[in-house]
């Protein structure tokens, strides 16, 4: 079908005869394709984008500054708002960082619960991508089908944590304490509610089914392939130079997954594969995420089989003292490597908190990858990077 050479050849023939001035097309900050307040100033020559300058910061909330006036417990509530479609996964690296500073280690059951919820957050984040990406290409129905299934995942998260998007469930050395019903319950942690395993495995079956449906509806669709295959190719070297991580990097053939490398939660008990594809185009980025939903469902299934019994909270002093030190703690978020560089000076609040948010780094490649693409491909490529503006602007 269409090869890039064909486009370029036909273009070359035209541009010899017609020299037209470039037009500046402003996309955003309110624009249907930017799902958030991203603004692109694109210099277009007809349909071809000659140059693009992303403008961000419309949603800058200054989390790094706010974190300097908040205690560690308060920051946990804050950070799950950075990338709101996978709120739980944002908390994990932060709490692991504080645990590393204080030398407290969460008990195995708490770690398993963290792992289950992280994977549920990953599924929900990828389902948002699976739903919104075809929408940018014009297909409206996968949106509703994927969001319908995401609801089952969010219900699971809410059932355990009490919040659909902002769980605020991790505590240093364990998970959130119970409250209400007398002071004794407060000393216990919020364990999984009855029937959770049953409902979780049912929901995971649904995830497999929706993946099959999406395969039929989207993946196999020739029009989708025409729009995404060989579009927006990012070679591995470029991806590394721009700091791309997560599915965007794995689609370029680099098997970089912190779940395997860093082993920050009991992932080595679980048998799962890293989804890697070689092409680095939009279709591969889409496919990696679709495969990761299946892998995450696999992880959740195994985790609910293997989850150990035991305490949920390690012994933590009543007044938590975080010693002086600097730690970089990172974890594999649905969108890639999410890290916190915590500088503690021994106070109640961190002296400085650098948030290495994934979408910000993933978005730095936009000017490079969008250069000399068509306007429809601009939308396709931008969507395939799967960013959340809250994660970009912090």
């Amino acid at each position: 079908m269409t090869t890039p050479e064909m486009i370029h050849r036909s273009e070359a023939a035209v541009s010899v005869e017609l020299q037209t001035p470039d037009m500046t097309l402003n996309l955003g900050p309110q624009h249907p394709s930017t799902h958030g307040v991203l603004r692109l100033i694109a210099k277009v020559d007809g349909e071809r984008v000659r140059d693009v300058e992303p403008v961000i910061g419309y949603m800058h909330r200054g989390y790094e500054k706010l974190s300097e006036v908040r205690t560690y417990a308060q920051i946990t509530a804050l950070v799950n708002r950075i990338d709101w479609v996978s709120g739980f996964a944002n908390e994990v690296p932060f709490i692991l960082g504080v645990e590393r500073l204080t030398g407290i280690e969460a008990p195995p059951r708490a770690q398993y619960i963290r792992m289950i919820l992280t994977e549920l957050a990953r599924i929900s984040s990828h389902l948002v991508f699976i739903s919104s990406y075809p929408l940018e290409l014009g297909a409206t129905t996968p949106l509703m089908h994927a969001l319908r299934e995401r609801e089952y995942v969010l219900e699971l998260i809410e059932e355990v944590t009490g919040g659909r998007f902002h769980p605020n469930f991790n505590r240093v050395g364990g998970i959130k304490p119970n409250y209400g019903g007398g002071s004794t319950t407060k000393k216990q942690s919020m364990d999984l509610p009855a029937g959770f395993f049953q409902r979780a495995s049912e929901a995971m079956d649904r995830m497999d089914k929706i993946c099959d449906d999406i395969d039929q509806l989207v993946t196999g669709n020739e029009l989708i392939k025409m729009r995404t295959v060989d579009v927006g190719v990012i070679p591995a070297a470029k991806a590394l130079e721009y700091g791309l991580t997560g599915p965007n990097l794995r689609a370029s053939g680099v098997a970089y997954d912190l779940r395997k490398i860093e082993n920050y939660l009991p992932y080595d008990d679980i048998d799962f594969d890293i989804a890697v594809r070689e092409g680095g185009d939009c279709f591969d980025r889409y496919m990696v995420r679709l495969q990761e939903i299946r892998q995450s469902a696999r992880i959740v299934r195994q985790a609910i089989e293997k989850i150990p019994t035991g305490p949920l909270q390690a012994k933590v002093p009543r007044v938590l003292k975080v010693p002086k030190g600097q730690v970089y703690s990172r974890a594999e978020n649905p969108k890639g490597e999410f890290g916190y560089y915590i500088v503690s000076e021994g106070g109640k609040m961190p002296y400085r908190l650098k948030i290495r948010s994934t979408s910000f780094s993933n978005l730095t490649i936009l000017p490079w990858v969008l250069k000399d693409e068509l306007i429809p491909d601009l939308v396709a490529i931008m969507g395939s990077l799967d960013f959340v503006l809250g994660d970009v602007d912090r």
Binding site: T2, I7, S10, M23, L25, N26, H31, P32, S33, E47, P134, L135, E136, L137, G138, A139, T140, T141, L143, M144, H145, R148, L217, N221, L223, I224, M226, R227, L374, I375, P376, D377, L378, V379, G383
Partner: protein
């Protein structure tokens, strides 16, 4: 009958058909589309199943302020929706709903139909240019390129039908399809052109029709995720309603044309001629409904193409294929 009375009756009939038809199709799209998406669609307006939703939407649009950008070319901007609407309504004039149920039976019916429906390109270009908006401009130009590219396969597909029928009158084409194809013993078999070797022509016509309608997968002119709403970006209120109704009316028009040319129009094998005038509209509407459902179905299933892919599809595939189709049909026409 008095000429003027007849004219008024015909005009009112056509207008009513177009407008109520468009409202019904809008409702069908809302309802079918939402069920395909696991939603329930309109529910509250009008009591049962939200049947009044299109009416309510229409009323809402009428109340909206009719905005025009400061830089817009007011006259052209204001006139554009009516050009689109007019070209759509004029198509209905020649479509026969029964042996005697037509507004005008032109000898050059098929020709008139193609000519008048391509006027809508003008309206869209006017809208895109006069809006003084870059999205509108790009959308308008995309629409122009697309409509002109797909006008050709559409015309060529019709040419094959005209050759087979031997007439350009739409009534004549329907009658040609109702005529005996061959006989088995004393049993006379008649069949629409679709069955009589126009499969390729029908497929080309339908693809081109979707492109003419600027519906998914060919909705680049209004591609929401790229151009917000293309040439419609700046329109609001009554003028937007015109475009909106026009889109759905032309969906009916193209379906009716396809039904007339390829599916036997008002004729259905087995319905005697004496009943044709009564059953005709129903038969035609049934066929139109099937085709419209097809349009709705693919709109809620497929993504959109890219502009260059769309052009390539037209020029590299559809037009050569349509020419081959004409040649084959002509050979068969002469040989048999």
């Amino acid at each position: 009958m008095n000429f003027w009375l007849e004219l008024v009756i015909k005009l009112v009939a056509v207008l009513l058909t177009v407008l109520t038809g468009a409202l019904v199709v809008i409702y069908a799209e809302l309802k079918a589309g939402s069920h395909m998406q696991s939603r329930i669609g309109p529910y509250n307006a009008g009591g049962r199943w939200g049947w009044a939703q299109p009416l309510a939407d229409g009323l809402k649009f009428l109340q909206k302020e009719d905005l025009a950008p400061a830089e817009a070319d007011r006259a052209v901007y204001g006139f554009a929706p009516y050009v689109v609407m007019m070209s759509t309504i004029a198509v209905f004039v020649v479509i026969p709903f029964g042996p005697d149920l037509w507004a005008a039976d032109l000898d050059l019916g098929a020709y008139f139909l193609l000519a008048i429906s391509s006027i809508s390109v003008l309206g869209i270009l006017m809208a895109g240019w006069a809006s003084a908006n870059k999205y509108s401009l790009v959308g308008g130009l995309r629409a122009a390129a697309q409509l002109i590219a797909y006008e050709l396969p559409l015309v060529l597909a019709v040419v094959a039908v005209v050759i087979q029928a031997g007439t350009m009158s739409l009534n004549g084409i329907v009658e040609a399809q109702a005529d005996t194809w061959f006989t088995i013993g004393t049993f006379e078999v008649s069949a629409p052109f679709l069955v009589r070797g126009q499969v390729i022509g029908f497929v080309i016509f339908m693809i081109a029709a979707v492109a003419e309608l600027s519906r998914i997968p060919f909705d680049m002119p209004i591609a929401e995720s790229e151009l917000t709403m293309g040439y419609l970006t700046e329109y609001s209120g009554i003028r937007f309603t015109m475009f909106f109704l026009g889109e759905y009316a032309s969906m009916i028009a193209l379906s009716a044309i396809a039904a007339t040319l390829f599916l036997g129009g008002y004729a259905l094998p087995g319905i005697p001629d004496s009943l044709a005038n009564f059953a005709g509209p129903g038969v035609l509407l049934g066929k139109v409904a099937i085709l419209i459902f097809f349009f709705i179905w693919i709109r809620w299933t497929w993504p959109r193409l890219r502009e260059d892919q769309l052009q390539r599809l037209a020029w590299h595939w559809l037009i050569p294929l349509a020419l081959v189709n004409i040649a084959v049909i002509s050979i068969f026409k002469v040989a048999f």
